[in-house]
């Protein structure tokens, strides 16, 4: 009984450590890329105390931030619900971590028994994944409400509304892949993509497209970062958080980004598969991480360029565009899987999906007239 515990520990501990370190790197990466997009340099000047070595390309910036967070005073607003105020960041972080373990890393040092346990325990990994991420919505709401601040409450309500409505397209697009593979287990999905990745099938592409957008909304990133829109409601649900709790929130957010993109990779980009993997099995982790960082680059890229969505546009986009499209995609995928000839399924599915997308978008514009400017001429 003890060794199973040890095995589990052995499996989960390295994943947690890897991604925690990556968190620091990605914060730096994000600030650098944003700076480059905005035609500026970004953090590049950190002098290490007691040494004169300064030019570190800002790589130490995350450490500096972390230290700042630790040192800053941790304020709890008067009359706020202290227990919930403390619980919210924890609840944001824990699910993200749990979900990471579900990803199909085949760690090089894992032996046979560890692999078996891993497989058995995660028979319905994808389902569990979605279950646990839904706890994240709860944490956001708890934060919003516990800080007893109108803006944070508003931010919390917006975040919950957004995350709840985008959860459906997320799950439905994942369902397409599950239907194709026939199993919820991540390993089986990755195995199924050994020859060709699902991204290269028409419905797979559409599914990835929907999954990616929904994941952005799920983690409150870029075009969908309404909850912490600085211009309107300061920092959204974590306005009242400062110091280490704020850091925890940030960590939680980034981990959930890694997790969701990890899932995207497993579902659409064939997880750890890549060239030379058969030769060097340890390459699968590298490929896995590389793909994740590719997606993260796109996310940061989007953050720098795409403007923020209004609430009603946000909701309309989810309910009137993504969800119908994902349901249609489900049907199209079913048909395509039945009819195996790719030369026939490709054009047909592509055509249908494109037509649907075009039609739905046209439906949206029906009542959108030319913009009218009241003051600026």
């Amino acid at each position: 009984m003890i060794d199973t515990l040890i095995h589990i520990l052995a499996l989960t501990a390295p994943v947690a450590m890897i991604f925690a370190s990556l968190f620091a790197f990605t914060t730096w990466l994000e600030r650098k890329i944003l700076a480059r997009i905005q035609n500026r340099i970004g953090p590049n000047y950190i002098n290490i105390p007691f040494t004169k070595f300064r030019k570190t390309f800002g790589l130490l910036q995350p450490a500096a931030d972390g230290f700042k967070m630790l040192v800053k005073e941790d304020i709890v607003p008067h009359g706020a619900d202290r227990f919930l105020h403390l619980l919210a960041p924890i609840l944001a972080l824990v699910p993200a971590m749990m979900v990471l373990c579900l990803l199909p890393f085949d760690l090089p040092f894992a032996n046979e028994s560890m692999k078996r346990i891993h497989a058995a325990a995660l028979d319905n990994a994808v389902l569990l994944f979605f279950g646990i991420t839904s706890i994240n919505t709860l944490a956001v709401f708890m934060a919003g409400w516990a800080s007893r601040n109108k803006y944070s409450l508003l931010g919390g309500m917006r975040a919950v509304a957004q995350m709840v409505s985008y959860e459906i397209p997320l799950v439905l697009s994942a369902a397409v892949v599950i239907m194709a593979v026939g199993s919820l287990s991540a390993q089986k999905i990755v195995a199924a993509q050994s020859t060709h990745w699902f991204i290269f099938t028409p419905w797979g592409l559409a599914a990835f497209f929907i999954f990616f957008i929904a994941s952005l909304a799920e983690t409150n990133r870029s075009p969908f970062d309404l909850p912490e829109a600085e211009s309107e409601i300061i920092a959204g649900y974590f306005t009242e958080y400062s110091g280490f709790k704020f850091a925890l929130f940030f960590l939680g957010e980034y981990l959930s980004i890694f997790a969701i993109n990890g899932l995207a990779v497993t579902l659409f980009f064939g997880g750890g598969n890549g060239p030379w993997v058969q030769a060097h099995p340890w390459l699968s982790c590298v490929w896995f991480l590389a793909k994740i960082f590719g997606l993260i680059f796109i996310i940061i890229w989007l953050r720098g360029t795409v403007p923020r969505l209004r609430v009603d546009q946000l909701m309309a986009f989810a309910w009137k565009f993504l969800m119908p499209l994902s349901i249609l995609n489900l049907f199209v995928a079913a048909v395509a899987l039945k009819v195996q000839q790719p030369w026939l399924t490709w054009p047909l599915c592509a055509l249908v999906l494109y037509a649907a997308a075009h039609g739905l978008s046209r439906l949206q514009q029906k009542n959108v007239g030319p913009r009218t400017y009241q003051y600026a001429e």
Partner: protein, 188 residues
């Protein structure tokens, strides 16, 4: 050994969560206690090797019902908990008594005399240890999906119908009447 410890911990958490959910004056604390209770139960399901049900439990209860309850509390005035002077409704003492009596009646025969337990209508499989032997058995999601799709396809469709009806019904009932020009509620 581990199972027993896990079982007792989880059941303790569940009972505590339930009690807190029922007794807290602050409704939001009640909701979170309830969510704790759901999580504990999901753990119990995992212990009973019904992990699909556990996952669904988490997804449905913690993910959706919890949020729904919170929204309802938001929309009704008592967010900061009952400001009512007393907690219980008239004649709460009888309620307490009955709340104890009903489970007692269910448990008592099993506890009081072993004989009646044997005669208990429930056919208990002989020596069916929980975890070990059928771990790899048919409780994979595939088997469940197959059974659902073959044997219980009609109930599934009915369930689908029920859910849509509930969805539409809930919206219709809770739909706030639009304010017409004069600010008066138009009939819903």
């Amino acid at each position: 050994m581990i199972e027993q410890v896990a079982f007792y911990i989880l059941s303790a958490v569940a009972v505590l969560g339930a009690l807190l959910a029922v007794s807290r004056r602050n409704l939001v604390h009640g909701v979170f206690a309830l969510l704790l209770f759901f999580a504990a139960l999901s753990g119990l399901f995992v212990m009973l090797l019904a992990d699909y049900v556990a996952a669904v439990q988490v997804l449905v209860y913690i993910g959706a019902v919890g949020i729904l309850l919170l929204f309802t509390i938001m929309l009704t005035e008592h967010v900061t908990g009952d400001d009512l002077r007393r907690l219980g409704v008239r004649g709460w003492f009888w309620g307490l008594l009955l709340a104890v009596a009903v489970p007692a009646v269910l448990i008592l025969p099993a506890v009081l005399n072993e004989k009646s337990a044997k005669a208990a209508p429930i056919v208990v499989a002989q020596g069916n240890p929980a975890l070990a032997n059928n771990a790899t058995q048919a409780n994979t999601v595939k088997a469940l999906g197959k059974v659902l799709m073959e044997k219980y396809v009609v109930p599934l469709e009915v369930l689908a119908l029920l859910l849509t009806a509930a969805l539409i019904g809930a919206v219709a009932v809770a739909h706030a009447p639009e304010k017409d020009a004069s600010g008066k509620d138009t009939p819903a």
